[in-house]
Symmetry: C2
Subunit: 305 residues, 2 copies
């Protein structure tokens, strides 16, 4: 491991993950900051970056590359969306410079897709993980792949020959959170009951009529005597099962097509279980490692321009 | 209009609607009380009924019939569910007596259906409106009908020859409430923008992949420049459109089958617009009048036993 040559940040809505990388892209140091852009005042991002993030690594003079919501109007500088289809080179060509910053510093643009129902879909941050995953092995940059990034707003991405062709967002994680906290399905119990999760998967059907299928999470308790503390696991299985069953078609691919899961390990494990239950082939990759790889690849291409 | 002969109550989770009826079932007086069972302490229902509801009408000596959540474990006395298929006579045969009450007083049982995914579905209150609607015209008691009762937990009911054969609940109203208050789609704006409602209907597709379609309510604003204050109307159209498209199939009927809308006038108007957009024939009937007719019909049959 060499000396730190780059400060790389994934700066999202709720927190900031930062790494220093050496000249080969290997992680030198890693820190997390409680600095999500949703908590920042206008103009605060630059100040906090300079007064907290850089000094924490002793990285004041290093070039920096940042991705995520830091490039939105809630963040530091707006990095306008790149439109699909887009690959690594194209994304590196439109990194947004950070105003009035001494060293080389750029923000990765978000990506916009045609979306569904005439509403263009958007992402900020997941594109960098995707590009990192593609950059890690050259053979991933040929052929066609369906990639799912689970989360509050899960992204289903279609990649052809290394370019993100289009994507669809499913707000599954947010539905789970708001229903579990604010609806008749609310519960403080942990979502750790595998058989209730599987019952939820089975109740998801083909992902149709979700508002009706969701009520089974209530009626299985009130009308069927299931234990109320199994509701969070059942709800999780129902929502993930419905997403996995129905979203591929919206993306324009078959629900049988193999899926690459890229993201948080725990969440990917739940999606893997849902896919396995449907007989869909899948492989899982770590989202954080992909984010680091993506930031480094974009830096190398962007700084060389 | 004759003299009051019966005190009839629709006592739900959030409020209590009560009427005195004459010997022919005509309304003598009507009052609403801020006494939903969700606000009652155990054992409080009897006391509040005797100290507030009866005296408000001077109805202390009258027979009484009550429907709704007052028959649940949150209410006064548990009136065990009647199982589908069930008609007016069968429901009247299992009214639950209210313990230690001087005059004749009964609670209408809720109804339980086979449901979907092995979770028995349940209702309390809507069955009385349905029975009232069926009782109002003898010709409604032959043939097959699909009845939709919109609400927080909308009910889709299949009736054959005057008997409720099965039903499915869709928690559309609750999704609208929690997403509009607690999610990234939250807004204080009124849901009064017809063209945004229609855009939501169009985005509902066939009611598949709801978690993804819901995100269009966000992305049309962030990625497409639609005004944020149109979000509640769009969300309403999207959720109602998805329910209307997908729930009939879960009920085991064709989505083209004519629908009877029974319930709140404003809400029925939105559902009527969604059905009209899909070319589905529909008629609308007032839920409150049906509740009164149902309580009276059940009283007449029940008291005669």
């Amino acid at each position: 491991m060499g000396k730190a040559a780059l400060l790389a940040c994934d700066w999202g809505t709720t927190n900031l993950r930062a790494w220093t990388l050496d000249a080969e892209g290997r992680v030198v140091a890693h820190r997390e900051f409680d600095l999500g852009v949703s908590r920042l005042e206008p103009g605060e991002a630059a100040r906090r970056f300079e007064s907290e993030v850089q000094p924490a690594f002793g990285a004041q003079g290093l070039p920096a590359i940042l991705c995520g919501m830091v490039g939105s109007n809630l963040g530091w500088t707006v990095a306008p969306y790149a439109d699909c289809p887009v690959g690594l080179d194209e994304l590196a060509a439109c990194l947004a410079p950070v105003a009035a910053h001494a060293a080389w510093a750029r923000i990765v643009p978000g990506v916009r897709s045609e979306g569904i129902a005439g509403a263009p879909d958007v992402m900020r941050g997941e594109e960098t993980q995707l590009m990192g995953w593609l950059a890690e092995h050259p053979d991933r940059r040929s052929g066609r792949r369906v990639i799912c990034h689970p989360g509050t707003h899960a992204k289903w991405m279609l990649v052809e020959d290394g370019r993100l062709v289009r994507f669809v967002t499913a707000m599954t994680g947010e539905l789970f959170a708001v229903l579990g906290k604010h609806s008749v399905l609310k519960s403080d119990a942990a979502a750790d009951d595998t058989s209730a999760f599987d019952a939820g998967l089975a109740a998801a059907g083909e992902g149709d009529a979700l508002a009706a299928r969701l009520f089974t999470a209530r009626s299985r308790v009130v009308g069927g005597g299931a234990p109320a503390e199994s509701t969070p696991s059942y709800l999780s299985g129902l929502l993930i099962g419905a997403e996995v069953a129905a979203t591929p078609r919206l993306l324009g691919v078959s629900p049988d097509e193999p899926v690459v899961l890229l993201g948080d390990e725990m969440l990917c494990r739940l999606y893997a279980r849902a896919l396995a239950g449907r007989g869909v082939a899948h492989e899982t990759f770590d989202g954080e490692a992909a984010a680091v790889a993506g930031l480094f690849a974009l830096y190398r291409l962007g700084a060389a321009r």
